[in-house]
């Protein structure tokens, strides 16, 4: 077996787009500055040169308009990929996502499908302030008809973006800004291994507590698990990867085994993905848990730009480890 190449998180995105656009002529890319400029993080560099004006299209700053256009294109035979630079700007295209893309197949009695991938960069950790740091997965996971994924490694970016482009449903891929420059191993270019939607990954096995992580919290969760290991506490770290559909099977099997459940996320706790995970466990786990389940999340406040405040805002390994210590001690 050949060694697996190591690439950066954003390069995995570029590679996935390039491979899928090569494989399928109906795939096109549109968004602000995705064309000749190559994007704000160089994430689309080379695509315009490779695929031309028709298939790689810069748009005006008009999220409502170009996402609606992408939905119209998806209904009529294309497989559009849309970039929205910052996840916060999804608020500018709620209608085409929630009222159109998500419901058209249902409303039209199955006459159309809407094979659309929208990817965007979200979350905090780069001092971007209240309007450029949000993690809004729960908003979209609440909508039937949409799928939502949050890859945290280059391998999952590659595999989930490719799977999402091939999926016949509208998919939101919520990438992490903080992880853009991180590296990791991926399959070789000739390997068609895809990461399926709807499957969580056990990033680290353990017997004492199920620690579910969402998006970039995978790294914080793994770091906390390492700290805890030295103290004799084995945390099973489950990277959710797919928010909708949710991999309840992996989740429940782990909680059945450990009897303890903590969820760490970078969005607020109320009505969140963590709240849903706890609800699923509360409804479906037969035996009583060994400790009260916990959501580890920022305060119910916007994300500050101030480095010291943002550091305190986003859950970090010490806070995660402390929460778990208390759960195991009870």
């Amino acid at each position: 077996m050949r060694p697996m190449p190591s690439i950066k998180y954003y390069q995995a995105l570029t590679r996935a787009l390039k491979e899928e656009m090569t494989r399928d002529e109906s795939v096109m890319l549109l968004g602000e500055d995705v064309g000749p400029s190559g994007g704000i993080f160089a994430q689309t560099r080379g695509l315009h040169g490779a695929f031309g004006d028709l298939r790689v299209r810069d748009t005006p700053i008009a999220e409502n308009g170009f996402v609606s256009a992408a939905v119209g294109a998806a209904m009529t035979g294309l497989r559009p990929v849309v970039e929205i630079g910052f996840e916060d700007f999804l608020t500018c295209c709620m209608d085409p996502l929630v009222n159109q893309a998500a419901k058209l197949r249902y409303m039209l009695g199955g006459q159309v499908s809407v094979p659309l991938l929208l990817y965007t960069f979200g979350g905090g950790g780069v001092n971007a302030g209240p309007q450029h740091s949000q993690s809004l997965a729960a908003w979209f996971a609440h909508v039937p008809g949409l799928k939502v994924v949050m890859p945290a490694t280059p391998r999952d970016v590659l595999g989930l973006v490719k799977s999402s482009i091939r999926d016949d449903n509208p998919v939101l891929c919520l990438l992490s800004k903080k992880l853009i420059g991180t590296s990791g191993e991926v399959e070789g270019a000739d390997d068609e291994t895809l990461v399926p939607l709807g499957r969580a990954e056990i990033a680290r096995p353990g017997a004492d507590v199920s620690l579910v992580t969402i998006g970039q919290m995978r790294r914080a969760g793994l770091a906390a698990a390492e700290q805890l290991e030295a103290e004799g506490i084995e945390a099973e770290v489950i990277d959710l990867r797919s928010i909708s559909p949710l991999d309840t099977e992996t989740l429940l099997a782990s909680v059945e085994k450990t009897g303890r459940l903590a969820v760490v996320q970078e969005s607020h706790a109320p009505c969140s993905v963590a709240a849903e995970v706890l609800a699923v466990a509360a409804e479906r786990i037969e035996r009583p848990l060994r400790a009260r389940p916990r959501r580890i999340a920022p305060p119910f406040a916007p994300s500050p730009f101030t480095p010291a405040l943002e550091k305190a805002y986003i859950p970090d390994p010490p806070r995660i480890a402390e929460t778990i210590r208390r759960m195991v001690a009870t």
Partner: protein
């Protein structure tokens, strides 16, 4: 600009074809009004009585490969583009043979095979979705065009500007067709539009804007024929505004307090069907030929209503069908 194309009368069979479309729309809408009063249809309905000339003239100018996107007041557009009145009526009656399997109602009727990408319950989205459909045609090198219907109310929405701006930049094969019917929801044109003509806004995008008499089906047909040809030939978008009049309220049951008593009594005097009948001699069409077409159109709709009422309602198993293109969510 006002369309100033000289009116050489079209061939008789063309006139009769457009007349038939208008009569079918009229009969359909009258049947909807009656059925709604009887309590046979759940939900809300918006009828297009008085606007038959616009729908028939516009869709009558299209080829089978052309596409339309429509509005909440879309029965006329769908019928004129070739949707089946029986299946439309079945949808309105919440029967499983309706276009949305009886789950969607009046505002979501679509017949994708006939080029009807759907009525839509969100004002303005027909324009964004239409831009996307036109994008598909352009990317795939198809010599067809899209007509995106909207009203003067939608012309004030952000997506109207976003859609027309993108269509102009990308020189898309699309005709933005504004049915200016004097009222948007419950308030008059002047509340919604600062200019005398919505079509004047086309100048801001650098494509032609044409005002046409919406009560004159032949004038509408001529204007859309030209604009559609230009669109299919790569000449870019056109904005056509058909000045017409909404006989009824925003929705059936609307007391129309915003109209004067005189207007409520005499609004029906603006009648595109009567207009054509009055011109029969001048156009060289025998009144008897018109009467025959009208009777046939009415009979077709009567039959469609009877058929629709005989169909079954959707089974409970349809509650979560067509939400996703693949297996249902866990």
């Amino acid at each position: 600009m006002v369309s100033s194309v000289p009116a050489s009368p079209p061939p008789q069979e063309e006139i009769l074809r457009l007349f038939r479309l208008m009569c079918e729309i009229r009969a359909f809408e009258l049947a909807v009004v009656a059925g709604y009063k009887e309590g046979e249809m759940p939900g809300f309905v918006h009828v297009s009585l008085g606007q038959e000339g616009a729908a028939a003239g516009a869709c009558g100018a299209l080829e089978p490969g052309d596409l339309i996107t429509s509005t909440h007041r879309g029965h006329g557009h769908c019928l004129a583009k070739g949707a089946d009145p029986g299946r439309m009526m079945a949808e309105l009656h919440a029967r499983v043979d309706g276009y949305g399997k009886g789950r969607s109602g009046s505002m979501h009727i679509a017949d994708v095979a006939a080029g009807v990408l759907g009525a839509n319950g969100i004002v303005g989205q027909s324009m964004g979705l239409g831009v996307g459909a036109a994008l598909s045609l352009q990317v795939n090198g198809r010599k067809s065009c899209v007509v995106a219907f909207f009203g003067e109310g939608a012309s004030g929405s952000g997506i109207a500007h976003e859609a027309m701006n993108m269509a102009a930049i990308w020189r898309l094969p699309i005709v933005f067709f504004c049915e200016s019917n004097r009222y948007a929801e419950l308030s008059p044109y002047e509340v919604h539009v600062s200019l005398a003509n919505v079509a004047d806004r086309a100048a801001a995008y650098g494509f032609p804007g044409i005002v046409v008499d919406g009560e004159d089906v032949l004038a509408v047909h001529r204007a859309v024929t030209e604009a559609a040809m230009r669109a299919r030939d790569g000449g870019g978008p056109t904005l056509i505004e058909a000045k017409t009049y909404r006989w009824h309220g925003h929705y059936e049951g609307d007391p129309q307090a915003y109209k004067t008593a005189e207007e409520r009594e005499n609004g029906h005097s603006l009648d595109p069907i009567a207009r054509l009948e009055e011109r029969a001699g001048e156009l060289g069409v025998a009144p008897a030929a018109l009467a025959k077409v009208r009777a046939e159109a009415e009979a077709r709709i009567t039959e469609a209503v009877a058929w629709a009422k005989e169909q079954q309602g959707p089974a409970l198993s349809l509650l979560d069908e067509d939400v996703y293109a693949d297996a249902p969510h866990a």
